[in-house]
């Protein structure tokens, strides 16, 4: 019998992971008005990069982030500068179709290189550690995941609200044309933003890879959960995505308690119910992207 607390913690950890998945999507949708179909596959890419790094260096999965994060940042920067910036000005269809092609390429390249077998990342001792509060046993990894997610969100929020860079980001999200008129270099801004998004994704990827075995075709399902987190929380709201992810994770874990195969299904139901009740999402500001 699994206690309620353990279920909740499991839900919170999964939810935090989904919140991380959704962060990048929320930013690229809100600021660049771009639908990145390859988002899920990029998460999987991050996990496989961690596999490579841990294989070569023998480091633990989390330590591999020291290399994987900067690497993913670079990948994001290049991807945006060389490819995605070309479709940014146009309608959302263009970015959707372009990233769709990218998604197919990524999935199949990963399959060629790593085969279709599932893999996992080793967390090392961290996965087994836990500490006691009274009669409750709290795992270190779930707590660390939740804490890391909150930290990333807080950092992003502070960046957006307090820095010059953040002002530019908000300006471009409001009115890209007017932003250019006051000298904002939106091309470079987007490149930096995608770089950061991918760096955040790599953290999520490693945490996800520790928790769940993954394969090259795991991308679309990650994308779906990321999208659900963003849409559930409402477009245009950063913390909305955080709570959207949390709710999704909790719903899935609860659903899994009822019937092991129906975790995701329960999450989908909650998603649909919320959207029917509130078409703009929980914290959406109603602005049409």
């Amino acid at each position: 019998m699994i206690s309620i607390v353990e279920t909740l913690m499991s839900g919170v950890m999964l939810g935090a992971l989904y919140a991380l998945f959704g962060l990048g999507l929320s930013l690229s949708l809100g600021v660049m008005r771009m639908i990145n179909i390859a988002h899920g596959d990029l998460i999987v890419l991050g996990a496989y990069l961690a596999v490579l790094v841990t294989g070569r260096t023998g480091w633990s999965a989390l330590a591999s982030l020291l290399i994987v994060m900067p690497l993913m940042f670079a990948v994001g920067w290049l991807m945006q500068s060389l490819m995605l910036n070309r479709v940014v000005g146009r309608d959302a269809m263009a970015s959707l179709l372009l990233t769709f092609g990218l998604s197919i390429v990524l999935q199949n390249l990963l399959q060629e290189i790593f085969t279709a077998n599932t893999r996992s990342l080793e967390a090392g001792d961290l996965a087994l550690m836990s500490f006691q509060i009274g009669s409750l046993s709290i795992g270190v990894l779930p707590l660390a995941t939740a804490a890391a997610t909150v930290a990333v969100y807080a950092l992003t929020g502070a960046l957006v609200a307090r820095t010059h860079w953040g002002r530019q980001v908000r300006a471009v999200a409001d009115d890209p044309g007017a932003a250019r008129l006051v000298g904002v270099n939106d091309r470079r801004l987007f490149a930096a933003m995608t770089g950061l998004v991918l760096a955040a994704i790599s953290l999520a990827a490693v945490l996800y890879g520790i928790r769940t075995p993954f394969s090259p075709s795991a991308g679309p399902e990650r994308l779906l959960f990321a999208f659900e987190a963003v849409v559930l929380g409402g477009l245009g709201s950063l913390w909305g995505t955080f709570f959207g992810g949390l709710i999704l994770g909790l719903a899935q874990v609860l659903g899994q308690q009822i019937n092991t195969g129906l975790g995701a299904f329960f999450g989908h139901l909650v998603f649909l119910v919320v959207l029917i009740a509130r078409p703009q999402g929980l914290f959406g500001n109603g602005s049409k992207p």
């Binding site: 372009l98 092609g101 649909l272």
Partner: protein
């Protein structure tokens, strides 16, 4: 390129061109009808696939290109149509061809019901919601013993027909669905609905202010697309004789529609047809290369979107001169 409708006298329906068009279609149709008598089963099955995929791509394009409704869960219509056909035919012991219209009605009901919550959503909200709904249906079917769960359903009543009749019948059904959908789409778009949709595509608030009943236009299109796709799904699985949740509610259907849109361009009726043709040519030539075939497809998709965002059809059709279905309207741009 966005156009507005000039006075009726200036419309593109010059009598000789329209008559020529009709003759051309009639001739093509006649040619296609005789296929079962002049080719083997393999060709027929391929053509069934081509017609079904073309219909689905057409329907997807109608929604995305003319109503601005980008749907990532288009497979929900496919699965609903397929399962409707199989379960209706099995339950009532119906001749599958007679069950087709019933499957169409089921698809229409599903489309109408799904439109109620979904059409209140905009942009990405709608796109994701359709995907989630498709997943709900897939997982639902997977866990429903009365729908055969993971193994799916066979089409029992079709066993009464011999192979030749089965193949020919399925072929003609797919041809009928495709030709009918094409006809319905072009008639819809040439009429007031087409005007309404184009105005919505240009500027929804302006269209609404001008008295266009935006929601009604979208609803009608949603209904049409749902029925077209449902029928195509029914016939497609009639051809494979077995319907399963993962295949009929799988992302592959949307992926193919997306890919065809990339090749053929969006916002035209010719686009999806050209795209379907190109897709199947590529598949027949290169599918043997396994993952590299898919990598090639993906790379091609990216290349086209970067270089010719209007789809490959736009490369031949720079100024919109080619208007095969006669639905384009022109604006006089000389001052």
């Amino acid at each position: 390129m966005n156009t507005t409708a000039p006075p009726a006298s200036a419309l593109n329906h010059r009598a000789p061109a329209a008559a020529l068009r009709r003759m051309a279609f009639a001739a093509a149709l006649c040619g296609l009808v005789v296929v079962p008598w002049i080719s083997g089963y393999a060709t027929q099955r391929l053509m069934v696939e081509v017609f079904c995929v073309a219909t689905i791509a057409l329907a997807w394009n109608l929604l995305a290109g003319y109503a601005g409704l980008v749907v990532v869960g288009h497979q929900m219509f496919v699965g609903v149509g397929a399962y409707a056909l199989f379960s209706l035919s099995n339950t009532f012991n119906l001749n599958p061809w007679l069950a087709l219209p019933l499957a169409a009605v089921t698809s229409a009901i599903f489309a109408a019901l799904s439109a109620l919550p979904l059409l209140r959503l905009s942009g990405p909200y709608l796109a994701v919601a359709t995907w989630v709904l498709a997943e709900v249906l897939r997982i639902g079917a997977l866990n429903s013993p009365w729908l055969g769960a993971g193994g799916g359903l066979p089409l029992e009543a079709i066993r009464e027909f011999d192979r030749a009749a089965r193949n020919a019948g399925t072929y003609w059904a797919s041809l009928a669905v495709f030709a009918g959908s094409l006809l319905a789409a072009s008639m819809m778009l040439r009429g007031r609905l087409g005007l309404a949709l184009m105005s919505v595509r240009d500027s929804e608030p302006a269209a609404a202010a001008a008295g266009v009943h935006v929601l009604r236009a979208k609803f009608l299109l949603w209904l049409a697309a749902g029925v077209m796709t449902g029928l195509a799904g029914s016939v497609s699985y009639m051809s494979t004789l077995q319907v399963t949740p993962d295949a009929s509610f799988g992302m592959n259907w949307t992926a193919v529609a997306l890919f065809i849109t990339i090749l053929g361009g969006i916002g035209t009726l010719e686009g999806p047809l050209l795209g379907t043709l190109l897709y199947f040519v590529l598949r027949e030539l290169f599918a043997g290369y396994g993952t590299w075939y898919f990598i090639g497809l993906g790379a091609l998709a990216m290349f086209v979107m970067l270089v010719a965002p209007g789809g490959m059809w736009s490369l031949f059709n720079r100024r919109g001169f080619l208007d095969v279905f006669g639905i384009r309207r022109r604006m006089d741009t000389h001052p």
